[in-house]
Amino acid sequence: MSVDHDHLRIVEALLFASAEPLGIDALAERLPHGADVDAVIEELQRHYATRGVELVTVAGKWMFRTAEDLSYLMSREIAEPRRLSRAALETLAIIAYHQPVTRAEIEAIRGVSASKGTLGMLLETGWIRLRGRRRAPGRPVTYGTTEAFLVHFSLEAIQDLPGLDDLKGAGLLEGHIPPGFHIPLPSDDPALTDSEDPLEADDLADLAPNDED
């Protein structure tokens, strides 16, 4: 079977440039009267069968598409800015000020149980890390902030986090502050505190973000 090479080129160009799949009729319209569109399509399909793009039919119309086995090429990681939820911000702040802190302690401070994934998501940000295990019943994991946290928030040291007076001065805390209310002076000393034990080898695997809830 011999296909007119000009017809082949025309159909090829039309299919390439079209934003929509093209039907046989639409293609025939552009070809000289009596051209065998089916034969052209068949020849094109055969030609592209081994190549990086393929000619496929969708809903009875024809279009070029990346060869299926190469579709992985078409995905690309795009950095997408995402804002932290209120809960995540609160949790992050509590970890920053109160570190080393366990999940139960965070919940006690927040007054609500940590939502599924909040800690996991914060781990994903790279701003918090597992520090060790609290020397207490159940040996819960302790959380603390990372260097990336300091970098992201432009803090030279964790101690630069504003204290009670600063927060009041900035108008972030208002009104009557009850006696005994205090903002802790945070420390992210990498050395474990007396109340912490080191993590074991498999803790990190156990506590990977996806399993965290």
Binding site: R76, P81, A96
Partner: protein, 287 residues
Amino acid sequence: MVEDRDAAGAVSPADAWEAEEQLRLPIEDGEPKLIVDVTGFEGPLDLLLALSRAQKVDLTRISILELANQYLYFIEAVRLRRLELAADYLVMAAWLAYLKSRLLLPIPPKDDEPSGEELAAELARRLRRLEAMRQASVALMARIRLGRDVFQRGKPELMDIENRPIYQASLYELLSAYADHRQRRMITSVRVERRLVWGLQQAREILERLVGELDDWTSLDGFLATYIPEEERATVLASSFSASLEMVREGRLELRQSNAFAPLYLRRARGDLDQPVFPAIRDDLEP
């Protein structure tokens, strides 16, 4: 200065390009044939270029003197018909008149000004440059152009985007979340205890119920002590006293106190209980 014609909106951009082809040539058989309408030109340089093209010689061999004459003649004729000729054209006319004089008169010795020939050469160069840019734009538009002659892929497939989140939060957001939260907890941690207060209404109701029993002087303290637990006595005393004052005013109770801080005594009023002394006030006081 004059502006491009498309600013004036007189000529649509689509026509503008063709307009050049239709440009009426100002000279026939050496005699200027005047075009009065300067709106066909984009400034004096454009007009000079159109005039020079009419000399039908290469721009490098154009006679600037002749061109200056034609321009001046043209402007003069236009001014006879239209007084509002843009200043640009007049400035060019003045300059060309000056150029003409430099070209025609002998150069005075010790003249630092550029010679007429130099000025003419510079004008010719400017005309050539404008002409060149015009031709360049034609050549550019005549190129194989994407979207007109050739087409890119109509349905690009790049890319199924896999979003890799980059988390963002400002220090302000972090701090205000923390401060808000601590503030909230600070307030909710104040335990609001049940207030041990008898309202006036409550005291009055009780007094009214009891008033029938008060046939003789009875100490308010002693009276309340019978019924009220110790820790509530102060508030009950205050409310009951206020309520009893009201009832006294209504003529239903009598109150007696021997001196300051002495026990208060009360008893049922002697008058008719159903006919208050100050019914109007009583109405006022009814809640």
